[in-house]
Amino acid sequence: MLAWTIYISFLGALVLLLLPSRSAALVRILALTTTLVTFAITLTAFLQHRSGEMFTVVDHPWISSLGIHFCLKADGISLTLLLLTGVIGICGVLFSWNVDHRIKEFFAFYLVLIGAVYGVFLSFDLFLLFVFYEIVVIPKYFLIAIWGSTRREYAAMKLVLYSFIGSAMVLVGLIAAYVVSGSKSMSLGDLAGYPYSPHFQMWAFPLVFVGFGILAGLWPFHTWAPTGHVAAPTAASMLLAGVVMKLGAYGCLRVAMTLFPLGLAPWGFHILGLGSWRDVFAVLAVIGILYGALVALVQKDFKFVIGYSSISHMGFILLGLMTLNQIGLSGAVVQMVSHGILAGLLFAVVGRMVYSRTHTRDLPALGPMHLNKALPFAAFTFVIAGMASMGLPGFSGFAAELMILIGVWHSYPTLILFVGIGLIAGVAYIWRAMQQAFFSGTAPAAAVAPPDHPLPPITFPEKLGAGILICSSVIVGTFPQVFLNVIHPALNSPLFQGLRNGGW
C-alpha cells in the first residue's frame, strides 16, 4: 500500500497539469487532497508495522537481464522518514496557498518532488533509488528558477550542478559495487551481503558517502544549500531543507554505511590526528555544526540565518551517524525528523509569514516594523520554532540532540567541547535573529505609532500549517519512544550487520 504514496503523488501531478487553469481554488484543493491522502497512507503504515522490521511493499522484476527489480521495502527508519515527508508535504501546500503565478505548474512540480522523495525512501533496489534520486532534482530546479526570489537562476543552477556531481559520485560507487559483486543484482540486500575487499571499500565508501553527503550539506560541500534555500519559494525551501537534505543523510546511512562498512575502519596510520574515514567525517560534521552556527550569527538576511542553521543541524545528523553506536544513530534519525519539522516551520515563518508581507528580509529593516505587534502569530511561531531549533527540552530537537550527544560522548569525547560551543552558538544566532526581526525597538511601554499600511493578517492555512508542525515537534520531543520503538529494531536488522560488526 505504501507504493501508492508514490503513484498518487505522480498521478496528482498529472491530473493537475490536465486541469483547466481557471480555478485556482480547485488546484490548491487537489494538491492538498493528494498530500493528505499520501500522509494518511504513511500514517497507517506506521501504525500497522510497529515492529520496525523490514517488510516488502512491492517487488517486480524490471530489467531482469541486469538484475534490476522494481523493489520497494520499508523498515522503521523508512517509516519514520515517510511520515515526516507526509507531514511536510501537507504543510508545504498550506503555506503555498497564496501562490498565484502559474499555480498548476507549481503544485505539479511540488507533487512530483514529493512523489520522488517517497520513492527514494522506499526504494530497496539501488538502481531504482538512483532513478528517484535523479527525478528529485528536476522539479527542484524549476521550482527555484521560476518561483524563487534572490538570484534564482544562479541558485537553481548551482543547486542542480552540485546535486548532479554528488549523484555522479554515487553512481560510480554503485556501478563499481554492482560490477565487483558479479553484476547479478542491484538489490540493496544482495549488494550489502557481498563481501567486498577492504581495499575496495576503503575508496568506495568515501566516494558514495561524499556523493550523498553533498546533498546532506556536508562541509565543505555545502555552499549550494544556503544560496538555494534562500532563493527558493517558501514551500520549496521547506521541502528542500526539511526533506530533500534528509535524502542525502538517508543515503549515507542506508547505502554508503551498509554497503561499505569496512570503509569506516581505521587506516592504520594517522594524518593530523585522523585515523579513518570515520574520523574525517566526524570532524567535518563538527566543523559544519560550528561553521553553520557562526556564519548564521553574522547574517543580515533573515532567510540566510535559517539557511545556515540548516547546515549546522545537518552537521548534528552526520556526527550522529559517525558515532556508530545505537543511541547516536537513532539520535541521528530522530534529528532528521526534528530538523525536517523545524526547518519547515522556520522557513514558513520567514518566507511566507514575514517576507510575503514585508517584501524585505533585511534584519535591520525589519526591526522598525515592530513585527511582534504587527504579526503576533508570526512572532509567537518563530519563538517556538527558534526555541525548538536551539534544543529547548520538550521539543523534538532536544530529544534528538540528547541522544546524539550521548553517542558522541561514547565515541568522540574530545569533540564534545566543540559541539557544546555549537549548541551555545545555536542559541545565539536564533536569539539574535528573533530580537532583530520581531522584538527590535523599544518596549511597548513607549508609545509606538501604528503603521500607515498595516500588514495583512496571518491566514488560516498558515495558522493550520504552523499548528501542525508545532504539535509534531512537541510530540516527537515528549514521546520519542514512539519512534525509537521502530528505529531500534531497524538498526538491529541484518542489513546493518556489517556496521555492527565494526563494534557498537
Binding site: 543511541i327 537513532s330 511582534n372 519563538v383 526555541m387 529547548l392 527540552p393 520538550g394 532536544f398 540528547l402 541522544m403 550527544l405 550521548i406 560522548w409 561514547h410 569525547p413 574530545t414 564534545i416 557544546g420 549548541l423 551555545i424 542559541v427 545565539a428 536569539w431 530580537q435 522584538f439 523599544t442 518596549a443 511597548p444 511601554a445 514521546f479 520519542p480 519512544q481 525509537l484 520503538n485 531500534h488
Partner: protein
C-alpha cells in the same frame, strides 16, 4: 517510600501533576480571554494562582514530616530506551519550595496590577513560569527536571524583555546567554554520567555518588588520557556546577543579575528573586550535593572563597548603588551567598564526628529557612518598590527621596518591617535562617564564616542607609502629596507582613516541615 500519614486518596490522585498543570491551564484561559477586559484577566490569573496555593496548602496538611523519602510520588514509564521515567515526588525541601512559589507568584501578580500593555500575555507568561517552577521542584529525573529548568527561561526572558525598562534588551539577552551556557555545560556533564550509569534518576545517582563509585566509573568510561582521573572528574563536576552557579548566582557568575533585576518590571523581579533564584539553590541541594560531594570536598577551599566573595563583595557593591532596585538585587546575591556558604560547609569532610554532624543539621536547616525567608522578604521588598514606582511615576533612586515617613507613614512602617527582616533583626523571619547558617557553619569552616560576618555588617549599613535616605530627613516638595497605601494594598500586605512576624517568632512552622529532610540530607552525605 510513602509516609504512613497519607490517606489512600492522596496516594492514588496525581496531586503534583495537577499542581503543575493548573497554572498552565490558567495561562491558556487568560490568553483566551483576550485584552479587552483587563481587570477580568488579572483576577482570573490571580484566581488560578490562588487555586495553586490551596492545593499546596492541602499538600502541606497531608504531608508527613517524619517520613523518609519522597511523598505523593507518581511513577510512569516514559522513554524506556533512555531509561527515563516520569517520576515526581516531594520531600520537605520540595514542599517548602512549592509553598514559597505559591506565595511569591500571587505577590508578583499583585505587584504587576498596574501593567497596562498586553495584559493577557503578561499574566499568561507569569502562570507559565509558575508551571515551570513547580515542575522543577517536583521532578526526580534529570531529563524531566531539565525540561522545566530550561523552559522557565522563556517566560522569564519575555517578561523582562517586553515590559522592562530601557536597557531590557541587553539585560534580557545577557540573562539568557549566561544561563544557557551554564545549562549546556550541565547537560554535557549529565550526559557523560548517563553514558556510564544508564540512568537519569536523581535518587539512583545520589546513591552512586555517595558510594564513591560514580566518578571513577565515569572517568573510566570516558577514557580520556590527556588528563589525570582526578582532573577529569573535576571537569565533569565543573560542568554541572556551572549550571547551578550561574542561576543562584555565585560569584563570579553573577554579573547578569543586577541589570536583569533592575530592568525587569518590579512584578517580574519578584518572581526572579523570590522563586527563580531558589531554583539554583535547590539544584545545589537536590542534585549537586548528593551526587558530587566527593568532588566538592576536594575543592572545598576554592568553593568557600567563592561563597565568601559572593557574600562580602555583593554587600559592598549594594552599598554603592543609587537605584533602589539595584541595591536589593545585590542584596539578593548576598543573602543567597549565605546559603551557599552553609552548603559548602555541610559538604566538608568531618569523619563522622557527632558534634560536627549536629552542626551540619543546623546549617542545612538554616539553608532551607533562608531560602524561604529570603524569598518572602525579597518579594515583599520589591513589591514595596513597585508600589513606590506607581506613585512616583517610575522614580526609584536613593537620592530622589527623603522624609517620606511624614507623607506615607503606613507605607514607611510596613516597608520598614520588611527592611529590618532583610537586615536580619531577631523577631522577624530574616534572622532565624542566617542565625542557623552561622551557628552551623562556624564550627565547620570557621575562617569562611568569620569573613562572611562582614557581609552582615555591611548589609546592616546599607539597609539603615536606605531607611535614612528614603524615609527620614528633609522632605522634597514634589513628594508632599504622595498617597499612602490604599485599603486594598493594606489588606494584601498585612498577611505577608504578619507571616514575617509569625515565622520570626515561631520558626517551628517551617522547621517542622523541613527538619527531618534536612537531617536526612546531611546524614546521607557519606564522609570520605
Amino acid at each position: 517510600m510513602e509516609g504512613p500519614g497519607m490517606t489512600q486518596d492522596m496516594n492514588s490522585f496525581p496531586w503534583l501533576t495537577l499542581l503543575t498543570a493548573v497554572p498552565l491551564v490558567g495561562a491558556l484561559a487568560v490568553l483566551a480571554l483576550g485584552g479587552r477586559n483587563k481587570a477580568l484577566v488579572r483576577w482570573t490569573a490571580l484566581a488560578f494562582s490562588g487555586i495553586s496555593l490551596l492545593i499546596t496548602l492541602a499538600l502541606w496538611h497531608s504531608f508527613n514530616s517524619a517520613a523518609d523519602g519522597f511523598q505523593f510520588q507518581e511513577l510512569h514509564a516514559w522513554i524506556p530506551s533512555l531509561n527515563v521515567s516520569y517520576r515526581v515526588g516531594i520531600d520537605g525541601l520540595g514542599l517548602l519550595m512549592l509553598l514559597l512559589t505559591s506565595i511569591v507568584v500571587p505577590i508578583g501578580m499583585l505587584a504587576s496590577w498596574q501593567i497596562e500593555q498586553r495584559v493577557p500575555l503578561y499574566f499568561a507568561l507569569v502562570l507559565t513560569l509558575q508551571t515551570c517552577l513547580v515542575g522543577t521542584f517536583t521532578a526526580l529525573n534529570f531529563f524531566h527536571w531539565f525540561i522545566f529548568w530550561e523552559l522557565a527561561l522563556i517566560p522569564a526572558f519575555f517578561l523582562v524583555r517586553l515590559w522592562g525598562g530601557s536597557g531590557s534588551a541587553k539585560a534580557a539577552m545577557q540573562f539568557l546567554v549566561y544561563t544557557m551556557v551554564g545549562s549546556v555545560a550541565m547537560l554535557l556533564s549529565f550526559l557523560a554520567i548517563f553514558l556510564t550509569t544508564k540512568t537519569f534518576d536523581f535518587t539512583e545517582l545520589a546513591t552512586m555518588g555517595q558510594n564513591g563509585t560514580l566518578m571513577p566509573a565515569v572517568v573510566a568510561k570516558l577514557g580520556w588520557h590527556l588528563l589525570t582521573p582526578e582532573h577529569v572528574a573535576l571537569v565533569i563536576f565543573f560542568g554541572a556546577f556551572l549550571g547551578f552557579a550561574v542561576k543562584v548566582p555565585l560569584f563570579p557568575f553573577h554579573t547578569w543579575l543586577p541589570s536583569t533585576y533592575a530592568e525587569a518590571p518590579s512584578g517580574t523581579t519578584i518572581l526572579l528573586t523570590g522563586a527563580m533564584s531558589k531554583m539554583g539553590v535547590y539544584g545545589f541541594l537536590r542534585i549537586l550535593l548528593p551526587i558530587f560531594s566527593p568532588e566538592m570536598q576536594k575543592i572545598l577551599t576554592p568553593l568557600l572563597w567563592l561563597a565568601v566573595a559572593t557574600v562580602v563583595l555583593s554587600a559592598y557593591t549594594a552599598m554603592a548603588q543609587k537605584d533602589l532596585k539595584r541595591i536589593f538585587a545585590y542584596s539578593s546575591i548576598n543573602h543567597l551567598g549565605y546559603c551557599l556558604l552553609a552548603i559548602f560547609a555541610v559538604a566538608k569532610f568531618t569523619g563522622g564526628d557527632a558534634a560536627l554532624t549536629t552542626q551540619k543539621f543546623a546549617a542545612m536547616n538554616g539553608v532551607f529557612l533562608q531560602m524561604f525567608n529570603h524569598g518572602l522578604t525579597a518579594a515583599t521588598l520589591f513589591w514595596f518598590i513597585a508600589m513606590l514606582e506607581k506613585r512616583t511615576g517610575g522614580v526609584r533612586g536613593l537620592d530622589d527621596f527623603g522624609g517620606l515617613r511624614k507623607v506615607i507613614p503606613v507605607f514607611t512602617g510596613l516597608m520598614g518591617i520588611a527592611l529590618f527582616s532583610s537586615l536580619g533583626l531577631p523577631g522577624l523571619n530574616g534572622f532565624i535562617g542566617e542565625f542557623l547558617i552561622f551557628k552551623g557553619s562556624f564550627p565547620l569552616v570557621t575562617w569562611a564564616t568569620s569573613l562572611s560576618v562582614i557581609g552582615l555588617l555591611i548589609t546592616a549599613i546599607f539597609i539603615l542607609g536606605v531607611i535614612q535616605r528614603v524615609f527620614s530627613g528633609p522632605l522634597h516638595g514634589k513628594w508632599a502629596l504622595l498617597p499612602d497605601l490604599t485599603l486594598g494594598e493594606r489588606l494584601t500586605l498585612v498577611p505577608v507582613i504578619g507571616l514575617m512576624f509569625a515565622l520570626g517568632l515561631y520558626p517551628q512552622l517551617i522547621l517542622g516541615v523541613v527538619n527531618h529532610t534536612a537531617i536526612q540530607m546531611a546524614l546521607h552525605l557519606r564522609n570520605f
